[in-house]
Symmetry: C2
Subunit: 321 residues, 2 copies
Amino acid sequence: MSDFPTAVRINEEGPREGFQIESDAIPTEQKIELIDALSETGLRHIQIVSFVNPKVVPSMADAEEVVAGIAGKPGVSYTGLWLNARGLERAIATGRLEIVGSINLSASDAFLARNQNRTPDEQIELQHKMLDMYAAQDVPIQRATITAAFGCNFEGDIATSRVIERVDQALALARDHGVAPQWVSLADTMAWATPQSVHRVVGAVRERHPDLELSLHLHDTRGMGIACAYAGLQMGVARYDAAVAGLGGCPFAGHKGAAGNVCTEDLVFMCDEMGIETGIDLEALIDCATLAEDIVGHPLPGAVLRGGSLQRIRERLAAGG
Amino acid sequence: MSDFPTAVRINEEGPREGFQIESDAIPTEQKIELIDALSETGLRHIQIVSFVNPKVVPSMADAEEVVAGIAGKPGVSYTGLWLNARGLERAIATGRLEIVGSINLSASDAFLARNQNRTPDEQIELQHKMLDMYAAQDVPIQRATITAAFGCNFEGDIATSRVIERVDQALALARDHGVAPQWVSLADTMAWATPQSVHRVVGAVRERHPDLELSLHLHDTRGMGIACAYAGLQMGVARYDAAVAGLGGCPFAGHKGAAGNVCTEDLVFMCDEMGIETGIDLEALIDCATLAEDIVGHPLPGAVLRGGSLQRIRERLAAGG
């Protein structure tokens, strides 16, 4: 029935995804407070800022201040996001981030056109330039990401063969530049995945590239996030992006349809209950989720932050309570 | 990997579960409005009221008025809940409900003691009395329900062998009275289930009783509802209780974070996308979920009611939009 991994690695994206989308400006010190708290949970990978144009994304204008302000827990890798050379330079200049490059292709041509105003060929060309830039800066290539891998609001369903083609192109790009991504991330950018399509797409990619490590980036817009993660676990996928409290979505705050990444503490809860190692202290993470809600000032979509862990109930019962 | 059913039957419990727990009194006509709207979605089974002591559950004091007030769609089975002979008499007296009996056992002795102040033996005795009462009233026995089948806030983890034992006891009770339940419902009353435990428990019951039809009653308190339903689908389970918009929650589960049943439209969405027949019009159901939110006056946990269906996007794209 299943090929569960014994352990998973979770890349926390809440601070970057979440604070970027919130309409009210979050004070820099509160961003730092959450990142520092997350750093104490056992999370090893936290994406904390975007280096994007502050005129376009004002909520990330304090990226340098955030990076400079965090305590910086040894053993925790802090990363940022950038879209161009200027952003990369800013990230490097902080001196405190893990600088890793990625190859980015879209399984949806329509999404690429709409979101980045590029054709597939232009996207490939851009990746060549980015890979040259990474080589010039001695930046290792960590991963390849295939966005819209499960469907697209502008193109509809995405054929599995298209995903395979993009994975092949990404690996060919890497080979051309003498690098090898550590894993390929299949991103359900617009929440089209179901657990069944996770099985199908992951299965097809794995059949073609049996030794390629895969990662899943899941959104919970249609409530399928945890079920898709479960399907990923069944397929042995051991890397997940997630966001504490489901930050990045505000289903209760009038952003109709917006929902964030799959919720970190709900995912950790599921893994804990299944005996899959995450290295994360769930109770500490639940405290972070509550802090995230306090910071954004409205309810966030996570469930376990309200429902509580089962381990705490077990401990209370064991203590005779 | 999977043994998906070709079709599932969904028992809508939102009106009963949901309106029972809401702290503000919902006007009778609004309850009726939602039930009538749900009746037009293709749902064939809707549990609409509880016949309980109005002093204990004031929100259900208008049960008779609700039943009398609904339009009553032909082909839709409307049911009620009762806990004793008085409740059953009230249900029968409406003349408009499908009157079906059930056998109810708890997999958790502690939950039984806490919630109903009975020992397991006393619960068996009560079931004998209820079965005699049903026989006297010519009420067919539709199902047996095992509550707390996946864990309990007052007892902790529940051994699979305990669930098996309770299923065996329920079937023995039925045999003693010359009846046979159409299915056995495994109820995750306090949201302890994970998709993995659904596989385990359903698998164990099925191994012992290969021809027994099973149903799942799932709560979403810890965000596992849809993932557990997916696990049920993988195991071929073709009956689910669900609540529109995720209405409800058990006021007696002793848990502040208690969330409602798995959300009907999220479940229907998943089935639609997987090609599993539900007979339900998802767009009409989403409208009902929005109506349910309007009626209770606060956001409800469903995701698809905000995220929207994919079919609607596909249709827009097909129309060139």
